[in-house]
Structures are given as C-alpha cells and as structure tokens.
C-alpha cells in the first residue's frame, strides 16, 4: 500500500511539473517583443491581407486564453509548431535528432554512474589512497571545468594532433553500408564526446557514493557483518552498498539534468547530430519554435528520469515499501 500511494504521489508531481513547463514555455514566448508573424513579415514584405491570413493560421488573432488552450492541446498531441528556418514541423526535426542524443546521453550516463560508483566505493574503503584522492579531485574538477571546453581540448589533442578520432559528425561521410561497419563507425565518432562527458561527470557520482559509503561503513550493522565473519568484499558490495545506494539514487536523479545539459553542449563541439547541435543552430537562426520544442522535450526527459529514479528509490527502500 505504501508503494502504491508513493508512486501515485510522484506521478502526480511529475504531471504537474510538465504542465507548469508547458505554461512557462507559452508565456515566455509571448513575452517576446514582436511576434512570429511580424518577424517574418519584416523580412518577406507581406501584404496586409497575407499578414492577416497568417495571423489566423497561427491562431494569433484569438484571445490569449484560447491560444493557450490550443497550445496545450497541440503540445500534448506532439505538435510543436513549424520551424522558422526549415518550415518543417519541429517535432519531425526533433525526432530525427533525438535518437542520437539518447545514444550519447545513455552511454555517458551509464558509464559515469558505474565508474563513479566503483571509484566511490573503493575510495571509501581505502581512505587516503590514490583512488580516494583522485575521486575527490575529479569531483572538484567536474564542478569547475566546463565540459564543452574539455571536449574542445580532446578534439584538439586526439582529433587534430594525433588524428586518432574524427573531428565531427555522428557518422562518416559517406556512411558505411553494412551494419557492423555502421555500428563501429558510430562508436568511433562517439568516443571523444562520451569521454568528455564521463571525465567531467563521474567525479560527482564518485564523491556522493564515497560519502554515502563512509557514512554507512560507520554503522553498527557493518561492524556486525564483519563480526559474523563475512569477507570484506561482500561487506562492501552487499551490505554497505545496498544502503548507500539510497542517497545515490536521489543524486542520480538530480544530476540527470546536469548530465543532459552537458550532453547538449558537447554535441555542439563535436557536431554530433543531436538536440544539442540543434539548439546551437536554432539560436544562430533565431528559430524560436524549434527552441520551444526542444526545451519541452528536454524537460519531459528530465521529469521522466526523475520519476524513474523516484520509483527505483521506492522499490529499493523497504521502509517506503512496507510502511
């Protein structure tokens, strides 16, 4: 019973958040001086009746509330307007690029969490060792070093000077045809951006894991586990980790937004054909519908990730499950 009501609460919270984001999106773009039509009209020199038609088409002649309702309905249905630049629906543009971002993001997330956790556990078990010091150092660096700069440097060193990795793109041009070659090609292109992301991010996870483990390792049940004659490895990875995971899951959720922003910036540096690069292009071309659509999709992703993390936490912590 505890789990069900917990899930319900978190789901409602997620839905409310998404709703607020939609509203913010709507409000912000209405705050802009001028409106989409006037901007186009400036460039193209439309006649008055054409302008009027466009107003009607975009629904800009209706009262604000009606516009809002229409916007909400459209967004929920998956329609985010037409790109100023390409005239195609923004949702199409996003769907073309989303898989690439998910690929990069997913890989980087998994790798940095896993590496971060292992480093954190070992750092907590061996205080003062090299691993401990590097965990702390990388934790600091992750907060201070801009990930896009690291990407640039990796690109210079490994792409330009050493020429081990490609300089841009998700795949080579021309794209290879057979499946294995395609996969290898993509992995080859993905190496440097993923490396940049993981280097910056794993430190944060390591620090949290380390702190959580240190706290847990001082608990009485750990001393007891050792007293029971259980070997140190099992004590760390079974008894301690299960408890330290709980704060860790919360952090993973909070850090997801950070990770996502990092992925977006890194994509720009490597011209990775994903949402990040799309943001860079949209800003250059002042393509506001695209920015709106991207912001919405990204927010949905973050809210979803947080919800998943909440659910995992609920499953992991028996105190929630059985209360």
């Amino acid at each position: 019973m505890g789990l069900r009501s917990y899930v319900a609460k978190r789901a409602v919270f997620a839905a409310v958040t998404i709703f607020i984001i939609m509203t913010l999106n709507f409000v912000i773009f209405r705050l802009m001086p001028g409106n989409p039509i006037s901007m186009v009209a400036d460039v193209v020199r439309l006649r008055a009746e054409q302008i009027q038609r466009l107003y009607e088409l975009f629904g800009l002649d209706k009262p604000l509330w009606d516009q809002y309702v229409q916007y909400v309905i459209q967004t929920l249905k998956g329609f985010y307007g037409y790109s100023f630049y390409t005239q195609r629906p923004v949702s199409d543009e996003i769907m073309q690029r989303l898989p690439n971002t998910l690929l990069l993001l997913g890989t980087a997330t998994v790798l940095s969490i896993v590496i971060g956790m292992v480093v954190g556990i070992v750092a907590a078990a061996r205080r003062g060792s090299v691993i401990d010091i590097s965990a702390i150092s990388f934790g600091f660096l992750g907060n201070s070093v801009p990930v896009f700069w690291l990407g640039l440097i990796l690109l210079v060193v490994f792409g330009v000077k050493l020429q081990w990795f490609p300089l841009r793109g998700t795949t080579s041009v021309p794209t290879p045809t057979e499946p294995l070659a395609i996969v290898t090609d993509i992995l080859w292109h993905m190496t440097l951006p993923t490396l940049a992301l993981v280097i910056i991010l794993f430190g944060g996870y390591a620090l949290v894991m380390r702190a959580a483990m240190i706290d847990v390792l001082t608990e009485d049940y750990i001393t007891l586990a050792r007293a029971k004659g259980i070997d140190e490895r099992t004590v760390l990875y079974k008894h301690a980790l299960r408890n330290a995971m709980l704060p860790m899951v919360t952090v993973i959720a909070l850090a997801f937004g950070f990770l996502l922003s990092g992925a977006l910036l890194t994509e720009t540096v490597f011209s990775w054909y994903g949402l990040g690069r799309y943001i860079w292009d949209a800003i250059l071309k002042q393509d506001y519908p695209a920015l709106q659509g991207i912001f919405f999709i990204i927010s949905v992703m973050v809210v979803a990730a947080n919800l998943i993390a909440d659910l995992i936490y609920g499953v992991l912590d028996p105190r929630i499950r059985y209360d």
């Binding site: 907060n143 201070s144 991207i294 912001f295």
Partner: protein, 470 residues
C-alpha cells in the same frame, strides 16, 4: 584534515591572483578587448610559437612626413633633385568619420619646370627577415594641383629581393587637379582584384611579394608631362604594413583582436558575474529558506513545492530559452542565473532553521519574552549566515560555468568578450586547432571555479567541524 585549511588558503591565493589580474588589466595590456581590432593578421599565432613567422612591420618610419627630416629615409631618383621636396603647407586632412589626417607635412613632387616628361621616384628599402607573409597593405593619400596643360600618373610599386618590380597601384594618367584622395579600392593583398591583376591567381597572397628573405623596397613613382603647365603632386599618410602572422602572447582572433587581452579582461567579467549571480541566489535562498522553516504551515508547503518544481526544470535549457527570448545582455544573464540557483540553498537553510527552531535556546528565548523578530535576529540569523557564506562560495563556480556555457552557445552579451564567448569564437570559426586560443579560457574558468570550491570547502570545515567518528 589539515588539508582543508590548506585548500582554503590555496583557493584564496588563486582568487587573489585573479582579482589582481582583473584590477591591473589596463596595465597588463594596452588594448580594449572588444574594440581594438586588426592588430595583426586574423588568427595570428602567439609570438613564442615560431620566431620565423612574420611580425607586424611598418617599412616606412614616418608615414606622416611630419618634418623635413622625414625625407631622409627615402632614396630619390629624379632628373633634378629639387623636384622632390618636403612641404609644410599641405597635409592630408583625413576623411571625416573614417580616417584622421596627419596634419601638415607632406611630400611635394613637381613637374619639370622646363616642360616635357619627367619621372620621379622615391624608394624606401628595408630588410625582410621573416618567412613569407600573408598580407601586405599600403595606404596613401594624394593631392594634385595642376595649372595649365599637364598630365600626371602616380604609381605605387614594390621591388622584390630579386630586383623585380611590381606595380601595386596606379592612378592612371590623368589631367586636372584633384583634392586629397585615397585609392579605392585600398592597396591590400586581401583585395581579390589586386591578386588577380598582379598574380593571375585568386589564391595568391603577400608571400608572392616577399617570397624570400632579403632587401625589398616600396617605391613611389610620379610621372608628369607638361606642355606649358605645371603639376604638383602631394603625397601624405604613406603607410606600408606587412601584417604579422604572429602577435602578442596568445595571438589574435578572427577579427584581429588580441587574445591575451581578452583573457585578462575576461577575469573581471567572470568574477563579477560569478559573485553577483551567487549573491542573488543566496539571498533568495535565504529568504525562502527562512520563511519556509520559520513560518511553516502552508507557506512552507507552497515554497517547497515551488522549490522542487523549479529544481526539476532543467536549468541550462531553461536559461537558453529565457536568454534567447529576453535578448542577450550581461545583466539578464546575471539575474537569470541567480533566479535559477537558489533552490538547493533554500532547502539547506530551511533544514537548518527547522533544527534550530527546536533548540533549547530558542525556546528559552521565547520563554523569557523575546519576540519573533528578536529571536530571528539574535539566534537564527547568525547561525544561518555561516551556512550562507559557505553556500555563497560554493555557488560561484556553478554561476561562472553556466555563464560560460551560455556565452559559448552564443547567448551571452555580444559586446563582452567573456571566457565563454572566446570559446564560442573558437567553435564558431572552427579554430579548434589553435590550442593557444582554445585552452587558456577553459583553464582560467577551471582555476577560478576551483578557487571558490576550495574556499567553500574550507569555510564549511571552519563553520561545521564535523566530529570525526574514527
């Protein structure tokens, strides 16, 4: 750990160094990072990278001909030496809003008083000791006073080390007077038409003019033909420039601005942005945290719900959208970063307030008749302030990096060369290989941020000495 206080001192030291650099910026570099352009070739390399790269060279020492001695650097070739003289009366006045003139003082070249053809040239020779340059430009202003029947032609030439002479520009044979004028198009190897005419190759550059090390000359050649008239040609503002491919400590960017200057001045902006944004965030966090923790009830509920929702909204994309819409300016960046950074702090302050509320001394204070404001002032605020200071130090790095990210994407103030904007330029102009341009801004961002992180951790240790369990 002793290392915590050592960290704090290291952080403080780094911060002071940056603050020193920021304050001393005008003394460290004479240029304005935003406005001083074309200091050398675009994307010039740092001087220490390669000593054989051409440096900025100005073969003509006194292009303004300010005194009669100015003619001494020139070699004259004329049927009659008196035909070339220095004039103190005429001088190039400049073109309003484009060009400032150099005041009185110019070269006067006259036609043969006895009539007929006359060709006068003055030549300035100089040694060129670098690798071939990529750009060479000359500026010249001329005025011709014709009386009677006279024709004239002015040529600007370059003589290469092997003796060949190339005509870079000529006025073509003309009659009549002309007031101060400047060749248009300018005499510049960047000019495609000039390259085509001289070298028949669009892709040629000044290396064709100065292919080897040796002695080169700039020549001014004036031909006149008079039949019962005189022509007097005045020349002023005769500047020649070999554009350097190496400049300064860190080279130049895409507009020829000094990168080192941008780096130095960037420290000012980063410190300002970092601290101001962090202050906004901390003040907001304090207000919200205090209100939520102390007042409690539905105020608490409402504030914390808002807090959590704002926390879930992804920060950077939100900032991107906001700045794209509101227009890039430094103040909007500062305020927005602050507005999106208070949530974590508010939560911390709130827990602190909650735990302090139930502490005995607050109860005692209440019991002895202290009013709410008194309690807040004397007990809560001092305790909470120490946490606020620590959070302030720890929030600054995030603000600096966030501003860098926004500028990198092109959403920063277009009139400010921040470190992030420098990185934007690197990305935008594809200058990734120029590591002296790409690396330093990031290193500075990292160092300055780490300084604040160290200070924050040291403060944390000072104010909360944790009881070490083992």
């Amino acid at each position: 750990m002793y290392s915590r206080s050592r960290m704090g001192i290291a952080g403080l030291a780094i911060l002071l160094i940056f603050a020193g650099i920021a304050s001393a910026a005008p003394y460290l570099t004479p240029y304005d990072p935003q406005l001083t352009m074309q200091l050398a070739s675009f994307r010039a390399k740092p001087e220490w990278l390669d000593p054989s790269l051409p440096r900025n060279m100005y073969p003509i020492s006194d292009p303004t001909f300010a005194s009669s001695n100015s003619l001494q650097e020139w070699t004259r070739v004329a049927p009659n030496p008196s035909l070339v003289s220095w004039s103190g009366k005429e001088g190039y006045p400049g073109i309003p809003e484009v060009d400032t003139g150099s005041g009185p003082g110019s070269i006067e070249i006259s036609s043969n008083p006895t009539g007929g053809n006359s060709t006068v040239s003055i030549e300035k020779t100089f040694a060129y000791t670098y690798d071939p340059p990529r750009r060479f430009s000359i500026h010249i202003a001329y005025k011709v006073i014709v009386e009677g029947n006279a024709r004239w032609n002015i040529q600007v030439q370059a003589k290469r080390a092997d003796g060949t002479v190339l005509t870079l520009w000529e006025s073509r044979e003309q009659t009549g007077s002309i007031d101060w004028s400047v060749p248009s198009p300018p005499i510049d190897t960047n000019d495609v038409v000039l390259r085509l005419r001289l070298f028949k190759d669009v892709l040629a550059d000044a290396s064709r003019l100065f292919p080897v090390q040796g002695d080169y000359s700039v020549i001014l050649r004036v031909s006149t033909m008079t039949e019962g008239g005189t022509a007097r040609v005045y020349v002023d503002d005769f500047k020649a420039r070999i554009w350097g491919e190496a400049f300064g400590h860190l080279g130049t960017d895409n507009y020829g601005r000094d990168i080192f200057t941008q780096l130095i001045y960037g420290s000012r902006i980063s410190i300002v942005i970092g601290t101001f944004s962090a202050i906004i965030a901390v003040v907001l966090g304090l207000i919200v945290g205090l209100a939520a923790g102390y007042i409690g009830g539905w105020v608490d509920e409402f504030l914390m719900r808002t807090n959590d929702i704002l926390l879930t909204i992804p920060g950077l994309p939100f900032l991107i959208v906001l700045t794209a819409v509101l227009g890039p300016s430094i103040w909007s960046v500062i305020v927005l970063i602050g507005l999106l950074g208070w949530m974590g702090i508010a939560r911390l302050i709130r827990s602190q307030v909650l735990s302090l509320r139930t502490k005995a001394f607050v109860e005692a204070s209440r019991a002895s008749g202290g009013g709410t404001r008194h309690i807040i002032r004397k007990h809560l605020i001092p305790n909470v302030m120490t946490m606020a200071y620590t959070q302030l130090a720890l929030t600054v790095p995030g603000a600096i990096v966030t501003e860098a990210a926004l500028s990198f994407l092109g959403l920063g103030d277009p009139f400010l060369q921040t470190w992030g904007k420098m990185l934007h330029d690197v990305q935008y102009y594809g200058a990734v290989a120029e590591w002296w341009w790409a690396a330093p801004p990031g290193i500075c961002i990292a160092l300055l941020s780490m300084a604040f992180v160290f200070i924050g951790y040291a403060l944390d240790d000072i104010f909360n000495p944790k009881l070490r369990k083992r």
